[in-house]
Symmetry: C2
Subunit: 149 residues, 2 copies
């Protein structure tokens, strides 16, 4: 009924192993990032990612601001989720949202000094958490029932 081909079966097993590894790493990292960044800097993982793209985009292209439509594809969020995330960041004073002069449908998103500072502060912790959850094996916790430590 299923495939009796041992080659195909082991290929599938490898795929599933890869998939579960991916899920486990993702869950561990996202959970730890959200917890640590949230606790110490009031940022979620996605908020941090957006700040980082703003820093990079501006540095790379010498511009002071990015269009929301440029930002969206890089953070794996829907357009609506990004819109609200930007609103949160703006409310927190970390970015500004201004009408784009050349196309008044669009908005230009720019880091404020406070946003840049928050990013600079949070960055070491972000790197540290990733180092622990991706590189070294670390506690799963969060979603997965038991917390260590």
């Amino acid at each position: 009924m299923a495939e009796p081909d041992p080659h195909e079966a082991s290929a599938e097993a490898g795929l599933i192993a890869e998939w579960r590894e991916l899920l486990a790493r993702h869950a561990a990292a996202v959970c730890a990032l959200d917890r640590e960044l949230g606790e110490r800097y009031g940022l979620g993982m996605s908020e941090f990612e957006v700040l980082e793209r703003l820093v990079e985009g501006c540095r790379a292209e010498g511009r002071a601001a990015l269009r929301a439509s440029e930002l969206a594809p890089t953070v794996h969020l829907s357009q609506s989720a990004l819109s609200r995330l930007i609103a949160r960041l703006e409310k927190g004073g970390l970015v500004t949202r201004e009408m784009c002069p050349s196309d008044r449908r669009g908005i230009m998103i720019a880091l404020t000094p406070a946003g840049r500072e928050r990013y600079d502060q949070a960055r070491p912790l972000h790197r540290e958490v990733l180092g622990l959850t991706l590189g070294g094996r670390f506690a799963p916790l969060c979603g997965e029932s038991s917390a260590s430590a």
Copy 2:
């Protein structure tokens, strides 16, 4: 101000590259799985994972049912999220939830024939989607703005 050590800087760059690769693969796979499995079989990614753990757990240990607390750590969900997920599966007739006789705090979760059948039906599509999104590079779509046909 930052670390001027080029070794440390490149290690960090590698870590970030790994992290973004992980995020991209995860987003692509989860999005595609939710969409495809949801559309054709009425299952979310996590629902499928739970069905799969039930199939595996029962096959591996010869038991007909698993405790919720055994299931939780394997699916990267909080205890409350798993509880509601089980409730959804039960409402859909795919699992049963019975009181555990030896410890009446716990519940035993068992696949129904319909649940087993749904899993068997959905499995090939699940594997196919993973093959496309993990192995071969594939469309990102979903969250990331543009959809590629």
